[in-house]
């Protein structure tokens, strides 16, 4: 018998409305409010009272509703974030002020934490008359924010308390909707089925071991639980057992059939009518394993003695970068620095749990997912369900954080097979523990470096870099390719021999994280230069300055005239702003650190990377910008609307809408011409796509185990042919499909979205202007030259009485006036035919972070005394958004350096709760950050703007590691570090924090 038979009604006064819904003894107040009563602003987060996403006011007191049994709240008065204007002591006008201050400052990005933050803020404002920053930090100590680093949130609350007027600017309608729950996140319940309550709830049974052979799975008892609709194992799958990422290889199963290769593997899926039945069924599943010894160390894996995947080589990717005469440079060097650096796996900590829903609309399966790769999700989901792709539609609503986590999927196949098997609508949410223990992690990295110097000048770099791929190919080759290109970081080093490889292990499946490998390789080169400076007793800033890259190269490796890099300016300004060293507390060890980062934000030259956007006005006169770039919380979607508003002179920023029809037709024919592509064109498109990505990728994976010298030679010889093939593909695509998307490339990929979506939106705005004038010309009978665009529509240039409003123009063309524009990567070659090296990413984010820190030698605790961040952002569109990105990146980055340690043991994640993973809280975040933004105008985005999303998260851990290293006078060769590591470094007196952390 399940706990469901104990279900009884719970009556609440929610936002002054009497609501009743059934709850079992194990139903939490959060679950009741969100799932049972439809209050979407009461969000599921951690389930343990740490993140505050579920915060409500119950009988006057803020409580984490995930920790309150629903029945305990029976009869209580509950205020959610949407009812705070009813809170005694907190007037409606003050609440409106609070919202204005938050929105004006762009205080949130993904805003999943927003409603909980609002509850804390309103309660504080209602009960405390002396609100200052310190008490706000305390009040928010149980609300985690992963995006903006708390600063703007706290600032907004203090400003509200002090009655400061809010300078209105852009209306952040995207944030407003996220805060009040009207914009649904992927894990929210939507649709009639959800409202009726006949949507199934589902869960995944993950493997208990990282390496094992399945002996048996007993699901009979689970299937007999009343209310259980499906318990699926690999035997029950409707089609091929291929899931995961299928860009370069189809090697990951949806459900394990024989070999467990990682604890990220799913073994079974369960769907039930109630949560009680679901949980009882999960308890009733018994799995027997023959446990095998896992391969967890990359250095062991690369030897290829014990193979992780069916006897195939462990080496699944290899890229190199060879320039000049490395051997000779090392022979002639007077100083050689040789060190091994490591970056551990890291957890993205998206506040929204992994999850989504599947629903049937007729015979079309609609998946709502937090995906950055909707085309890929559609492909693998359709294949898993055994459906043609046209019968699968992807909706990618705003996600509660991503940071790269949703570049790879997983549960879209689980949802698809469950929906297919049951014929029902299904909702699947993996709880926080599952996300931590079984979810994807940032690629762990180990790099063996050698640096040659002659007369204090860097002459050569040799690096052997390894990235942990987990057991499957996934997207690791793309990370590895960038490791090779970016190994020298911000520096011009004339002689380089870099070999980067991806290797299979039994560790959790990896996903890129904020920087797509930039953190790993920038950490290596920056630390290496610090060590070289120490060895030579020279100023590390001066050593850097002498070698900084100063020019931008195009896709043919030619210097772009008039487009200098401002790396030196960021370094100079940062050094100047930091000033004299700050004194630390008595007895603490102080040190200064620096990180100059040069992190990509565009995709590599030569790739057919295009974004399509549409500007639409409807017959109500409402504007909208549409594209297939989903809003993963970066603010980039809002930015696109801003650019269109500026470009067309609109008074209100258009809303942004995810264009599902684009993911249904990657050829872009539908959005471009209004008709779907015919079967022949669709076939041609598929063949071209398949050749340029999957086939080419599988060849590279196949060749990866070759020895580095043979591989490099092969690549050099084949470079002209590969370039020609890619150019051919590009030309063919552009000719046949002017608005085609590359389905292998994620639609959202950090700051690249700014570059391409921004430019596409501007192109669409231009096309829209032309289209509007064309319609107005027809309606008015005036020549186009006599018409001008105004904020309200089209007006006569010489006839002020002629006014055609937007709504009227839309009505003239069937109720929808629209135009499409696109933007592509700059032209270039994929590989340099002289060397076989990649020409690299289209552009980079440049910046310098410097800081002074103090370390307590008795506890290992670190205090940041001063912190300066200077970034060349190209062009400033919205200072608040940029500020939030930088501060949020720094807070995340500081945790990535010290504190936020993900414990892995023998391939298993031991950090299974947010109580154990030390994500910085409002009390830990760094606030004394001095930010300067430079505008070189040299970026590839609109008006010369550059990406900024990942730059600070890449720079901060490196700057901090550099400062701590100087404070303790011991080389830091690995991150993240715990306080105990720092204590050991100090007291051990050794040059290494741990034996296995630094072997150079």
């Amino acid at each position: 018998m399940t706990v469901d038979h104990l279900s009884s009604p719970v009556r609440l006064h929610v936002n002054d409305e009497v609501r009743t819904a059934p709850a079992t003894p194990s139903t939490s107040l959060q679950e009741l409010l969100h799932d049972g009563m439809g209050y979407q602003e009461v969000r599921q987060g951690c389930g343990e009272g740490v993140c505050g996403a579920c915060l409500v006011i119950m009988d006057g007191t803020p409580v984490a509703s995930c920790l309150v049994p629903a029945h305990r709240a029976d009869g209580s008065a509950v205020l959610t974030a949407n009812g705070l204007d009813r809170l005694p002591g907190h007037s409606a006008s003050r609440h409106a002020d609070l919202l204005d201050h938050l929105l004006f400052r762009g205080a949130f990005q993904c805003a999943y934490c927003g409603p909980g933050m609002l509850v804390s803020a309103a309660h504080l404002l209602a009960n405390d008359t002396n609100v200052d920053a310190a008490c706000v930090r305390e009040a928010l100590s149980g609300n985690l924010c992963r995006c903006t680093g708390y600063h703007a949130i706290i600032d907004a609350i203090v400003a509200t308390a002090q009655g400061e007027p809010c300078r209105s600017k852009w209306s952040r309608h995207d944030l407003a909707g996220k805060l009040d729950g009207t914009l649904a996140f992927p894990t929210d319940r939507i649709g009639e089925s959800a409202q009726r309550g006949d949507e199934l709830v589902a869960a995944v049974v993950f493997a208990d071991h990282p390496s094992a052979r399945l002996r048996s799975i007993d699901v009979d008892a689970a299937r007999s639980v009343p209310g259980v609709i499906a318990v699926l194992t690999h035997r029950d799958l409707p089609a091929r057992n291929i899931g995961g990422v299928d860009v370069l290889a189809a090697d990951q199963p949806i459900l394990v059939s024989e070999h467990v290769r990682t604890s990220s593997n799913a073994v079974a899926l369960v769907a039930a009518t109630t949560r009680g039945a679901l949980l009882q069924a999960l308890d009733a599943i018994h799995i027997d394993y023959d446990v095998l010894r896992p391969v967890t160390a990359m250095e062991d894996s690369v030897l290829d003695k014990v193979r992780v995947y069916d006897g195939k080589s462990n080496i699944i990717a290899q890229f190199s970068n060879r320039v000049g005469r490395v051997k000779m440079a090392f022979e002639e060097a007077d100083t050689i620095v040789e060190v091994t650096f490591r970056c551990g796996a890291a957890e993205h900590v998206c506040l929204e749990p992994d999850g989504g829903s599947a629903r049937w609309e007729g015979d079309v399966l609609v998946l709502r997912l937090p995906t950055q790769s909707p085309y890929e999700a559609r492909l693998v989901a359709a294949r898993a369900a055994g459906l043609p792709e046209k019968r699968v539609r992807i909706e990618a609503p705003r996600a509660g954080g991503s940071f790269g986590r949703h570049l790879i999927g997983g549960f879209e196949t689980h949802l698809a097979v469950l929906a297919m098997h049951t014929g029902r609508n299904v909702r699947l949410i993996n709880d926080r523990r599952s996300a931590l223990v079984h979810g994807a992690k940032r690629h762990a990295f180990v790099g063996r470096y050698r640096l040659a110097l002659r007369q204090q000048t860097i002459t050569a770099l040799e690096a052997d870099l390894l990235a942990d791929a987990g057991p499957y190919v996934g997207v690791t080759p793309t990370i590895v390719s960038l490791l090779a290109v970016e190994a020298a970081g911000a520096y011009d080093i004339p002689n380089q021999k870099v070999v980067a490889r991806g290797v299979r292990t039994n560790n959790p499946i990896p996903a890129p994280m904020r920087g797509y490998g930039s953190l790993q390789c920038n950490f290596g080169i920056e630390r290496l230069i610090d060590l070289a400076a120490t060895r030579l007793s020279v100023d590390p800033i001066e050593l850097r300055r002498r070698h900084l890259k100063s020019e931008r190269k195009d896709g043919f490796q030619r210097t772009v005239p008039g487009s200098p890099r401002w790396l030196d300016k960021t370094l100079d300004r940062a050094s100047l702003r930091l000033g004299d060293p700050a004194p630390g507390p008595a007895g603490w060890r102080s040190g200064r650190g620096v990180a100059v980062i040069h992190a990509k934000y565009g995709y590599p030259f030569g790739m057919v990377d295009r974004v399509v956007a549409e500007v639409v006005v409807d017959e109500t006169g409402a504007f909208c910008v549409r594209s297939d770039v989903s809003d993963s919380g970066t603010g980039v979607a809002f930015m696109a609307g801003q650019r269109v508003a500026e470009h067309l002179g609109l008074p209100v920023t258009p809303a942004y809408e995810f264009a599902s029809e684009l993911t249904g037709d990657a050829s872009g024919t539908l959005i471009g011409k209004g008709t779907p592509p015919g079967p022949i064109k669709r076939r041609i498109f598929r063949v071209v796509e398949n050749f340029s990505t999957r086939r080419m990728g599988s060849v590279l994976v196949f060749l990866a185990p070759l020895s580095p010298s043979v591989y490099a030679t092969l690549l050099k010889w084949s470079a002209p042919f590969i370039n020609l093939a890619y150019r051919g593909v590009s030309a063919l695509k552009s000719m046949l499909f002017p608005f085609a998307r590359d389905t292998a490339i994620p639609t959202v990929s950090g700051s690249r979205s700014l570059l391409l979506l921004g430019n596409a939106a501007l192109a669409a705005a231009d096309a829209f202007r032309a289209r509007a004038l064309e319609v107005a010309e027809r309606v008015s009978g005036l020549p186009r030259d006599d018409l001008i665009l105004t904020a309200d529509g089209v007006a006569g240039r010489r006839d002020p009485l002629l006014r055609l409003e937007w709504s009227e123009l839309a009505r003239q063309v069937g109720g929808r006036l629209a135009a499409v524009g696109s933007a592509s990567n700059p032209r270039g070659r994929l590989l340099d035919p002289k060397t076989g090296n990649q020409t690299g990413p289209t552009d980079f984010m440049d910046g310098t972070h410097v800081c002074d820190v103090a370390v307590n030698p008795q506890t290992g605790k670190v205090r940041v005394l001063k912190y300066v961040a200077v970034h060349d952002v190209g062009h400033i569109f919205d200072r608040e958004i940029i500020d939030g990105q930088i501060r949020g990146g720094i807070v995340m980055g500081v945790g990535q350096a010290v504190g936020e340690v993900l414990q892995l043991k023998d391939g298993c994640v031991e950090t299974d709760s947010l109580l154990k993973l030390m994500v910085p809280t409002s009390l830990d975040a760094l606030y004394n950050v001095d930010i300067e933004l430079l505008e070189s105008g040299t970026g590839l985005g609109p008006s010369g703007a550059k990406g900024i999303g990942e730059a600070a998260a890449v720079a901060a851990p490196i700057a901090l590691a550099s400062a701590i290293s100087n404070a303790l006078q011991a080389p830091i060769c690995a991150i993240p570090l715990s306080y105990r590591d720092l204590f050991d470094m100090h007291h051990g007196g050794a040059t290494t924090p741990k034996k296995d952390l630094c072997d150079g």
Partner: protein, 251 residues
């Protein structure tokens, strides 16, 4: 027995079932605070947030421990009874309560009885009991202080905690009790540190001697490796130093 309810609720929601759960949150009698001159009685369901409002210099350690407990929201849900009976992890309130010589009243099958809070865990480990209240003896001339060192400043289990209680007689400390938590499963008194403080005036020298005594003599979990033991001892000494600094500020 529902101890550490905030943890159990999470467990219940994840598991979905249990043979029997009795929710005692409706027992209003267990939420009362009797703040007397000779003793302070805290109902077992007194929330940690309520402890922050406790008056009296001698109870400062409890206020400080409550202020550093979990986060702002957890403090409103977590109870003093639940915390001291929680068998896993570090129960931060136990450290100051032990330093203040508190006793817990428990209801068992055999009736009501008082046990030292330091013995609580042993009692609940083997037999189901209901904690009804915690009784803390008061002394108007006494002072107390607490310090916690954790991996972050909110929502973090402690690495080490330290609480010190002392009577004051013309600036001299007497009846000193030093308790250190976090370094092994249960908090412990550290007599060696108490000796360094007893009958002495609190100054930099005595603070350092007492902190060193904690670092040298505190018993750490025997399962910890040598390096971890050294770290825990060092952090415990730092916590002691900070607690004495705080005591000095109030004395």
């Amino acid at each position: 027995m529902l101890a550490g309810g905030s943890i159990v609720v999470n467990w219940l929601c994840m598991r979905g079932s249990s043979d029997l759960v009795v929710d005692i949150s409706g027992l209003r009698e267990l939420t009362e605070i009797d703040h007397g001159k000779l003793r302070c009685r805290l109902g077992a369901l007194t929330t940690v947030a309520d402890l922050i409002g406790l008056g009296g210099e001698d109870l400062t350690a409890i206020r400080q421990a409550a202020g550093e407990f979990g986060n702002a929201h957890l403090r409103r849900l977590a109870t003093v009874g639940g915390n001291i009976a929680w068998l896993k992890g570090n129960a931060d309130l136990l450290t100051p309560l032990m330093a203040l010589d508190a006793r817990a009243e428990i209801a068992t099958d055999d009736g009501m009885e008082f046990v030292d809070v330091g013995q609580m865990r042993e009692r609940v480990r083997f037999a189901p009991v209901l904690i009804t209240q915690i009784e803390i003896p008061r002394s108007p001339d006494a002072r107390s202080a607490f310090a916690k060192l954790a991996l972050r400043r909110a929502s973090a289990p402690s690495i080490a905690t330290a609480a010190v209680y002392a009577g004051l007689n013309h600036d001299q400390l007497h009846k000193v009790r030093v308790v250190v938590g976090g370094v092994r499963s249960d908090p412990q008194r550290v007599p060696a540190a108490e000796v360094e403080l007893e009958g002495r005036t609190l100054n930099l020298d005595t603070t350092e001697r007492a902190a060193r005594a904690v670092g040298d003599r505190v018993a750490v979990d025997p399962e910890l490796d040598k390096s971890e033991s050294a770290y825990r001892r060092s952090v415990a000494a730092a916590a002691m130093r900070r607690a004495l600094d705080r005591l000095s500020a109030t004395a």
